[in-house]
């Protein structure tokens, strides 16, 4: 089975959120309502405005496995850039829209650390969390450099178990495209074999470059980012502008060096202890103490 995944061309995203809705429908995810009513006579369930452009869900969450970002970029005549919707003096406004999702990393940090084996790689090379295995330790939350995984479920409140995009594993087993890609009306989200998608993406970058848009670039299409992302992007600005780290790393990189430092410190501590607790040394100290006591008694 070839590796399957998403190529997301952010230049054609129109921010319709069809992908978000389709994801909710297929996966039976309820609306993520930040404010739940506290009693029968309380106002109904609403979601407060985020204040961030047309964004109404704010971020990926246990209930939002897709999230369309609306980044408002302004460029003043002197060239200064701003990405803050709150900046009063904005000019030449431009929307950078991007439908965010789990990247199904080839060297996935979440899978790297998961101690229960709940996170596994499927035959489609996607990263899948088995809901009957996860015990909610939250190590994967700390590990994912994209802030994808959130804890949820009936026992919510920051606890529960790990939730994220499944790449519609159930649909794929029946040769159906993931719901979001199926619903995307502009083909911003394209689904297929990764190798094919890469070729298509490179052609698109060349096309944009030839049209003078030199800022077009691919993110995660090559192996530099965690061995490759099975959900990779065509971006029109630096990755950080879209909330993507430019150099994410695999957590286990730190394990060996950390243990070498600890081992070194244990050796030093061991030497200090061995020298100080040596029997002969203790004997002479004991003798000294006894001597002192005797002298005190004589006096």
């Amino acid at each position: 089975m070839p590796a399957m995944g998403f190529y997301t061309d952010t230049t054609v995203c129109i921010g319709c959120k069809a992908c978000q809705v389709a994801c909710h429908q297929w996966n039976d995810l309820p609306a993520d309502l930040a404010e739940q009513p506290t009693g029968p006579d309380q106002p109904g369930q609403t979601r407060p405005l985020t204040g961030m452009s047309y964004d109404n869900t704010g971020s990926l969450s246990d209930l939002n496995w897709r999230h369309v970002k609306f980044i408002e970029k302004s460029q003043a005549s002197d060239g200064t850039l701003s990405y803050q919707p709150t900046d009063a003096s904005r000019e030449n406004l431009q929307w950078l829209m991007m439908s965010d999702v789990c990247k199904h990393c080839v060297n996935a940090p979440c899978l790297d650390v998961c101690p229960t084996g709940a996170i596994m790689r499927t035959e489609f090379d996607s990263v899948y969390i088995q809901q009957n295995v996860c015990n909610g330790c939250r190590d994967c939350v700390s590990a994912c450099p994209f802030g994808v995984i959130h804890m949820g479920g009936p026992e919510n409140e920051g606890k529960g178990i790990a939730k994220k995009c499944t790449l519609c594993y159930d649909r794929m087993q029946h040769s159906l495209a993931p719901a979001c890609a199926q619903a995307c009306p502009t083909a911003s989200i394209q689904f297929g074999p990764i190798e094919e998608l890469k070729t298509r993406a490179e052609q698109r970058v060349n096309q944009l470059h030839s049209m003078g848009m030199s800022q077009a670039r691919l993110y995660g299409a090559d192996e530099k980012i965690l061995g490759g992302l099975n959900a990779f992007y065509l971006l029109m600005d630096e990755p950080e502008v879209y909330g993507l780290p430019s150099n994410p790393k695999v957590p286990s990189r730190n394990v060996l060096p950390t243990n070498l430092w600890s081992f070194g410190s244990a050796i030093l501590m061991g030497i200090a202890g061995l020298v100080s607790f040596r029997k002969r040394r203790m004997d002479s100290f004991a003798q000294g103490a006894a001597e002192q006591r005797r002298q005190e008694e004589v006096r």
Binding site: G136, P145, N254, W261
Partner: protein
């Protein structure tokens, strides 16, 4: 554009984890010190060995409960050790959360044997008397030596893995350094020495034991100061963000000043406050050990660095 690229979410590892790191550090440190004392100290270290046998197990029992309670699905805690679908053992040597669970299990077993042997002691009759062979087996001979070496090794591994655990992530501060394993281990040893000083100091007339423990503690504290320096150096430009935040100040005031510099000074001037001087130094060092874990566990999760969402 954000200067540092962190978009990692907060795992909400709260005070359960801080307390666990603290108790686990003391348990590991006690076993490490007990192992050393048993291997070279002989009979002179008996009062210390009594306590290093008693301390770790209860702390590990509390630790295990805290960890289980912290899970989103506590009843599935055993999934860390056994794969629930295949019934094969679950073990990843490259994931501290995984190998740490095994360390906790094995170290608890060893600590329990040591604890039981100390409780049984020289008892002859009754239920406990039936196990009077246990203290003899673990208390001397080749088996006893092997047992103490195992305790020493597992005490060290256990006290240091908690640092590796937070470092093997992508959280800012935690993953920006490889110093936390060593730091947590040394601080655990120092905290264990402080408890031993408090426990042996108030009733032992053998003042030289407290004196020896303090000497080792001096080395531990100096090493800890060096490691904190290296830790900050590894953080680079983030170090300033960290130090200016209340968690950074907690580390500076709680750990460096009150938990290390003041106790070192009191060790150097043991008569400054009369007989209570070593006790005060030990109590402050314990406080410093707690402050270290509190500061680092929360700093990694809560200090806003880069574009990550807070809360």
């Amino acid at each position: 554009m954000p200067p540092v690229d962190s978009f990692v979410e907060n795992p909400h590892w709260n005070w359960f984890i801080v307390v666990y790191f603290f108790l686990g550090g003391i348990a590991g440190g006690s076993a490490f010190i007990g192992g050393l004392a048993a291997l070279v100290g002989g009979d002179r270290m008996k009062p210390v060995l009594h306590w290093t046998a008693l301390i770790p197990f209860p702390l590990l029992a509390i630790s295990g409960l805290l960890l289980i309670a912290d899970l989103g699905r506590p009843e599935r805690f055993w999934h860390m050790m056994i794969q629930n679908q295949t019934w094969w053992p679950m073990f990843k040597y490259w994931s501290p959360m995984s190998y740490g669970s095994w360390l906790l299990l094995i170290f608890s077993g060893l600590a329990f044997v040591n604890f039981a042997a100390a409780i049984i002691g020289g008892r002859q009759g009754g239920f406990l008397g039936r196990f009077s062979w246990l203290p003899r087996v673990v208390g001397g001979g080749v088996l006893g030596t092997v047992f103490q070496i195992l305790l020493l090794i597992f005490g060290y591994l256990f006290a240091s893995y908690t640092g590796a655990l937070v470092t093997a992530t992508n959280q800012p501060i935690w993953s920006d350094t490889t110093m936390l394993g060593a730091l947590f281990f040394i601080s655990g040893v120092s905290a264990a020495l402080s408890i031993l000083i408090l426990l042996t100091g108030w009733r032992s007339h053998d003042h030289y034991i407290v004196d020896r423990l303090e000497t080792v503690d001096n080395w531990a504290m100096l090493l800890e100061l060096v490691l904190i320096g290296l830790f900050l150096a590894f953080l680079g430009s983030i170090a300033w963000t960290f130090l200016a935040h209340r968690y950074g100040l907690t580390l500076l005031i709680g750990t460096v000043l009150l938990g290390l510099l003041v106790p070192l000074f009191l060790h150097w001037q043991p008569r400054l406050l009369g007989r209570t001087t070593p006790m005060l130094a030990a109590a402050l060092a314990l406080l410093g050990g707690y402050a270290l874990r509190y500061a680092i566990v929360y700093a990694g999760q809560e200090i806003p660095i880069g574009g990550r969402m807070m809360g």
